[in-house]
Amino acid sequence: MPERSANDPVPGPAAGTPGDRTPLSNRAIDPEGIVWTRVSPRHVSVVMLSTLFGTLFWLAVVGWPAVLAGTGVWGGAPLRWLLLPPAAVLVVGVVSLLLAPRRVRAIGYAERGEDLLVRRGLLYQRVLVIPYGRMQYVDVSVSPLQRTFGLATVKLHTAAVGSHAEIPGVEHAEASRLRERLTARGQALLAGL
């Protein structure tokens, strides 16, 4: 069988910002003719800030022995080894920070006639298709950080565990529009179990 051109990089269609080279669509796993809607660019700030806070928190959690050893309070401690865990946290944090914009640009959703598609992931990409009729309920949640940026998270729940889809970083107006539309479509196509 000839190899498909599946792995050729495909530039993101319409929805991407100009000059954005992050492939939003992956022809290999996307359904035909799909146009993805990206989440708000402000979501990058939310992700970066929460990564920052998370990294600082974990630095404090794993870094205090190194601080004790470095300031001489804990004499004779193997400072070199104690520095390893905070260094690892720092590396992970910095990488996450650097990747955050691309990760956010890799999140997309699309509404079709009968189902909603949600995709995410840069390295490990995943496209989830949820028929409207299968939705049990739709959640819109806003964290304090998201509120500052006027964003919200839309969550869809079905009776299955694997298909709880999350669209983070949606602007408030869009979030309520999505919720209303999903609920309406869900009722029209209700399938239960």
């Binding site: 290999a28 796993i29 359904p31 989830l128 949820i130 028929p131 299955a160 399938a191």
Partner: protein
């Protein structure tokens, strides 16, 4: 149950109490512990008094020297404690009442903290009868109402006499069965998922005890157990010093593996599958007999698997995701979603036929056979391409899928084989995913989501084009099947049409 659909039976349904022996059954453990503890303390002191002369407490408690008043006081305390316990239990029993209305089943309990729990009958997914050991000795049974809210079991009436429980279940099944077609005015009322017109049972199959025993012996935990048991004397002989310590370290493992094997035997004992109008009923257990009705329409996915050691015997296990049962909370719960603990291929076919009444037969047996034994992509199954061997050298020739008009079959596993069958109309959602290595090889994974349960339907390392086609076909199938299956307000396929 008359043929005339009676309008709402009694306007003010009565509150009933559960069986008077309930507190005894529920409290027996506490009573045993209490009495045992007391006896233990007294015996201990008496023994010490007789045996050890030197201990000071022993001297104080020498029965010859203690005044009779002490013994009276002791007896008084015992009686008092028992009386108080009995009073508490009796009061609790007195205030526990249940009520079955045409729409709800309610339980009220508690004296200080009153609690009322109710389940809407049309949301009840199943009514199961449980008979734990002690209640069974006393002729009692527990009636459990499962609702769709997965996880916690909804309402349970414990305990009723067994005939009472059966009668109540029969009556409820019947009542809702009659109410289901309903006058046009009551059109909004959905028939209960398990609604049926009767309670007649037709035995379908029984798992013979020797086969069950064999299946337990040929399981991984039994093998580990055997290895440990054989290794124990060897370790003792080889190293008399460290041996005992090693053995002591094994003990917990030994106990847990033994417990797993025992539980599988206890729960699978005398497993019977019966056909009832609303679907299937299974009954199983050695000491605790459980009986549960699995309405066919509630089965979301069926998985057939064969552990490696069962292969010489041609045995298979059938499990299902049942809506409302939720994920099995533990090993003790695992039997709930088992439709056949161990059976032969013809039995598996029978069970599959009953479990998926919507699947027109035709291809299914062949698909099942190929799903369990097939290798490579020559047959009906679309398998991983050859280049998937870099990621999955052993299994890539087994992983594959095949679709009929009604179901999707997915096979996997080289050593321990399995085939999962998912009716199209039960697909909750579909996901396609691809990691970096898969991207390089042009492969992708497909997951088909079903309700929580033992069956996970997923195909790994398909050709990306196949994966995309499968996902597209499955979403279309699912939507199509939904349109067919749904009346405007009836989310379920009518059983009668499909039988």
């Amino acid at each position: 149950m008359s043929a005339v659909p009676a309008p709402v039976p009694d306007p003010a349904p009565q509150w009933h109490r559960v069986h008077p022996l309930t507190p005894v059954v529920k409290g027996w453990l506490a009573i045993v512990v209490l009495v045992g503890g007391f006896v233990n303390i007294v015996l201990d002191d008496l023994l010490r008094a007789y045996l050890g002369g030197g201990d000071s407490p022993a001297q104080e408690l020498d029965p010859g020297q203690v005044s009779p008043l002490f013994w009276w006081a002791l007896a008084g305390i015992v009686v008092l404690v028992l009386l108080v316990a009995a009073a508490v239990v009796l009061v609790a029993w007195w205030f526990t009442r249940y009520q079955v209305t045409p729409e709800h089943v309610r339980i009220r309990s508690g004296v200080l903290f009153r609690q009322e729990r109710q389940a809407r009958l049309d949301r009840v997914q199943a009514i199961d009868i449980h008979r734990p050991f002690l209640p069974r000795l006393l002729g009692l049974a527990e009636l459990k109402f499962e609702v769709a809210d997965a996880g916690q079991s909804a309402v349970s009436l414990s305990y009723l006499t067994h005939p009472q429980a059966r009668a109540l279940r029969g009556e409820l099944l019947g009542r809702l069965g009659l109410a289901a077609p309903g006058p046009p005015g009551a059109a909004a009322r959905r028939p209960a998922p398990w609604a049926a017109t009767g309670d007649e049972e037709h035995p379908v199959l029984t798992v013979p005890v020797p086969r069950l025993l064999g299946s337990v012996l040929a399981s991984g935990s039994a093998v580990v157990l055997a290895v440990l048991l054989v290794a124990a004397p060897v370790a003792l002989v080889l190293d008399p010093v460290a041996g005992p310590a090693v053995l002591a370290a094994w003990l917990p493992g030994l106990v847990s593996f033994g417990a797993v094997a025992y539980r599988r035997f206890e729960q699978g004992y005398h497993f019977r599958l019966l056909r009832v109008p609303e679907g299937m009923r299974v009954r199983y257990g050695l000491f605790s007999v459980r009986s549960q009705t699995v309405p066919a329409g509630r089965i979301q996915a069926v998985g057939v698997d064969q552990p490696l050691l069962w292969r010489p015997f041609g045995w298979y296990r059938v499990r299902a995701n049942v809506a409302g049962y939720g994920p099995a909370a533990g090993e003790g719960d695992a039997m709930r979603s088992t439709l056949l603990p161990v059976g032969t291929l013809p039995e598996v076919r029978t069970v599959l036929h009953l479990a998926l009444p919507g699947a027109r037969d035709g291809d299914l047996p062949a698909l099942l056979g190929e799903g369990l034994h097939g290798l490579g992509g020559q047959g009906r199954y679309t398998t991983s391409p050859r280049r998937a061997r870099w990621l999955d050298p052993l299994v890539h020739r087994r992983t594959g899928f095949a679709a009929t008009e009604d179901v999707l079959a997915v096979r996997s596993g080289r050593l321990s084989r399995r085939t999962d069958v998912l009716p199209h109309e039960k697909t909750q959602s579909v996901a396609v995913s691809q990691g970096p290595l898969e991207r390089a090889l042009g492969l992708a994974d497909v997951e088909l989501h079903s309700t929580p349960g033992p069956v996970t339907v997923a195909v790994a390392h398909l050709d990306a084009g196949d994966a995309r086609a499968l996902a597209a076909a499955q979403t279309a199938h699912a939507a199509g099947a939904r349109r067919l299956a749904d009346g405007p307000r009836h989310p379920r396929v009518p059983l009668q049409e499909r039988a």
